[in-house]
């Protein structure tokens, strides 16, 4: 690891805006928040993965991965960040390093050429170049290559230095944010600014969730100037420094960006969520409050309240019919971060019972809110082995599992409904209207008549009741030749019938089949 990267990592680990971090001793803080991984019991993505998750939703940029095949080849086009424009972000681009590149040290040259080919074939506003383990290990200097390429081609080439082995996804999120702070944010000026310009940080517009919220912002006259990186264009990242307020959607991933935007450009930030009715309202309220504080028309706050009142009444009315269909159902929630509490509150509002929630990636604050909502911390668990989860579900402690794709089969194989609430999901659940979609998804899952059928015993699990039986067959079975009668031998696998001319026992027949080296005589 280069020294620059080392100090960069130390820097992101020292996060004054992170509650967990501040409460640690100096010594502990230096170690960072990454727990050492256990061989044979580790799960989850690498730092490169994390960087890509954060940046890939910048839709018009060419995302070029400097790596042997696996990093991009096994992972491209697997997330549902939606774009309202360019589709370039969905094209997998990689240098596909070969043994020769590695042994001969051709990595940097190949990368430079790949950047040129990318620019020639895709004409992007910028190229993001991701470093991965192998080039980092052999010492490819992607910063230098990017610098040279930027100078040569006149297209910004942004190095994203987050090779997989430096840590977890979460660290990668932050390193990606740092790359944006270093190379992109503040490099372009908007044609005009308004007092209602905002940044949204830490949202990725999965399945179009941002668009479920955008109508609300539109009605309030709020403009998303900068985005990291929901449905973002390169320019939107470059102009983030001109927004009036930053809304940070995921508290763990990009807090460093929100804080540094405040430090460097004086843009205040707040943490909010668009999951759940009350959270959506709170976020809008907070956003408007800060905007007004910073010079927006004071009438904005009243308009915001009016909008909230109207929308909340409307969504409550739309949800009412679902209440009898989901009331009393027990939910096991296995997700992370802010979703733990915002979804819990929303489900409880509908009379559902949350029997447990994971707080794996949640901050202390998040955990506090879970306790506040659920009454105590009995129902909070950190990690649950699939085996235990399977048991819990199978023993019918729950009616439904809401989680990410990783645990879907734990539920499905236990013949238990499952709703995807993680990043790979196909339905958007944000804002007021997203709540209805979520509840509809839950209804659809738990009330599907299929479950009852699937849980019925198999025909052979029920003892036959005495009744009419056919008379015993007279002769031997015509197919297997097994004799009839009570003394007939019963084997599970009936012996195969002899063929017209069985092969002679022993060796000779085999010698007719010498190994063939050609094999295509009849193909």
């Amino acid at each position: 690891m280069t020294d620059a990267l080392k100090s960069r990592i130390a820097d992101v680990f020292d996060e004054p805006a992170c509650g967990t971090n501040v409460s640690k001793s100096e010594q502990q803080r230096k170690k960072g928040c990454a727990k050492p991984l256990t061989p044979g019991a580790a799960a989850g993505g690498c730092a490169f993965d994390g960087a890509k998750i954060v940046l890939q939703p910048i839709v018009d940029v060419a995302h070029l991965v400097h790596a042997p095949l696996a990093c991009e080849g096994n992972g491209w086009d697997n997330r549902g960040a939606a774009s309202s424009g360019s589709e370039l972000y969905r094209i997998g681009l990689t240098t596909d390093m070969t043994e020769l590149d590695i042994v001969m040290g051709y990595g940097e040259k190949k990368l430079f050429r790949a950047i040129r080919e990318t620019i020639e074939s895709q004409n992007p506003p910028a190229v993001f170049v991701y470093a991965t383990c192998v080039p980092a290990l052999i010492g490819d200097d992607i910063d230098a290559v990017c610098k040279a390429a930027t100078a040569k081609f006149g297209v910004p080439c942004i190095p994203v230095n987050a090779p997989g082995y430096v840590g977890s996804k979460n660290l990668g999120n932050k390193l990606a944010g740092e790359a944006m702070l270093d190379h992109v944010i503040g490099t372009m000026e908007p044609a005009e600014t308004t007092p209602c310009d905002i940044n949204i940080v830490g949202d990725y517009n999965l399945s179009g969730e941002l668009w479920q919220v955008k109508p609300l912002l539109d009605r309030l006259g709020i403009r998303i100037l900068g985005s990291l990186a929901a449905d973002a264009r390169y320019k939107q990242v470059a102009m983030m420094h001109r927004a009036r307020v930053t809304m940070m959607v995921c508290s763990k991933a990009l807090i460093n960006v929100a804080r540094k935007l405040e430090e460097r450009y004086g843009i205040p930030y707040f943490e909010g969520s668009f999951y759940g009715i009350s959270d959506t309202s709170d976020s809008l309220r907070e956003m408007c409050r800060i905007l007004v504080e910073r010079g927006a028309d004071p009438g904005l706050r009243d308009r915001c309240e009016a909008l909230i009142a109207e929308e909340e009444a409307a969504i409550r009315a739309r949800l009412a019919p679902y209440r009898p269909r989901v009331e009393g159902r027990k939910v096991l929630l296995y997700t992370g971060g802010h979703k733990s509490w915002s979804v819990v509150a929303a489900l409880q509002e509908l009379g559902m019972e949350v029997i447990g929630t994971s707080v794996r990636k949640a901050t202390e604050d998040d955990k506090g809110r879970v306790v506040e909502i659920m009454g105590d911390d009995k129902h909070m668990f950190d990690n649950m082995a699939p085996k235990d989860m399977y048991r819990l579900l199978k023993d019918a402690g729950a009616d439904i599992l809401m989680s990410g794709g990783r645990s879907q089969f734990v539920a499905l194989k236990a013949r238990m409904p499952w709703v995807d609430v993680n990043q790979e999901k196909h339905e958007p659940y944000a804002g007021y209207m997203g709540m209805e979609d979520l509840v509809r998804a839950i209804d659809r899952a738990v009330n599907n008549p299929m479950w009852a059928e699937l849980r019925e015993p198999a025909p052979w699990d029920l003892p036959l009741t005495a009744g009419r039986t056919l008379p015993a067959p007279a002769g031997p079975c015509p197919v297997t030749g097994i004799p009839a009668g009570p003394s007939r031998p019963v084997t599970l696998v009936p012996p195969l019938p002899p063929f017209a001319s069985p092969p002679a026992a022993g060796g000779p027949a085999v010698t007719d089949f010498a190994s063939s080296r050609t094999d295509f005589e009849d193909c």
Binding site: L69, G164, V166, K387, K413, P503, S516
Partner: protein, 461 residues
Amino acid sequence: MAKLIHPKRALSTMPLKSSAPLGAAMAYLGIERAIPLFHGSQGCTAFAMVHLVRHFKEAVPLQTTAMNEVSTILGGADQIEEAIENLRRKAAPSFIGIASTALTETRGEDVPGELREILSRRTDFADTAVVYASTPDFDGALQDGWAKAVEAIVGALVPRVTERDVDMRQVTLLAGSHLSPAEVEELVRMIRAFGLSPVVLPDISTSLDGHVSDDWSGCSLGGTPLADIGRIARSAFTLAVGESMRRAAQMLEDRTLAPFRVFQSVTGLKPVDAFVRTLMGLAGVQDPPPSIRRDRARLIDAALDAHFHTGGLRVAIGADPDLLFSLSNALTSMGAEVVAAVTTTQHTPLVDRIPSGEVILGDLGDLQRAAQAGGAQLLLTHSHGRHVEHALHIPLVRVGFPVFDRIGAQDVCRVGYRGSRAFLYEIANTVQSIHHRARPEDFGAAPIPEEFEHVPHAARH
């Protein structure tokens, strides 16, 4: 016949290939109570796992030695030992298949040596079979990783014999990476129909076939039992399906003296005929079972019906070599023309036999260009080919790995008489789904002037 083209490019656009360790993991999953273990950083494992899950729609018990920066530099032997220990405690697998990754290979560890040392020292690991295959991501594709894993299994677990003690009814079926669970099952069915009993290696038809089991195990839910791998020594013959299985077949011959035959394809009439003839010979029957006769007759009928649609059809195919060969061979035998063929690895002699002018060692970007240049009417590749489908407006038949935007990938069968029949229907039906109404312009005539057209009056309200 075909010439291999390797475009001089630094950039790979829309990768076609999946990595070698992933192929190894897939093969390992064809062993009973197995856990594949990647020797590398955890990210590679996460990506591979998601990839496998998206295709099979099954939980995949893939694990990692979780190399970090420090262990990468100091060496990963401890990580391997710790991983085996943790896996044994957690899930009690009977088999752990290790595959290396680019990261550990770049550093160049002597893993086989270290593993031997670990296993001889840790006698408490004795009831778990541990094998290791070297599968750097930067060399070869899924098919190569699969082949190396199978070779590793053979090398470690099939006993050597000096004298033949043959079970004349038992044959070994070495199944290549291009076979789906349903395809392995179909081959097994055919072999059984001749009164022979196959030992399949690796057998994903019982582990990745998509079934609901009664408990959660944390290991593969089926596959070749370890005891059966031992029994391979008594097989009379080895049937290897896929050219990439040749080395493993050769290794089996060296160890067990069982002769082998490689079937480079079992799709299409002639290749299946060759397979059946071999089975006839092994079973010593001149008369195949009636079901086989009937399936052949039905394939012939399907070919008669399909040839109207396949004759002259221009297709573009992107796949690992074994699959590329068997499908393109089946299509050209039906009169189709392969105008674009893209493959993923050069480690195969098959390229020469692909019925196409040239084979590109490349990505889906190459497939798109070549398909367009060749005027392809039909695409065959994995799900990522949907990008090409949209760009060129020609239909895509999903083949190979990964197929993530359709369910039931494990049930697709294109081998044997029955599978070939299904394949011909699939192709012919896709061709028929293209709606093209001929217009005068298509033949070079001027379009009919608009004034002659009857324009319905706008509705009045």
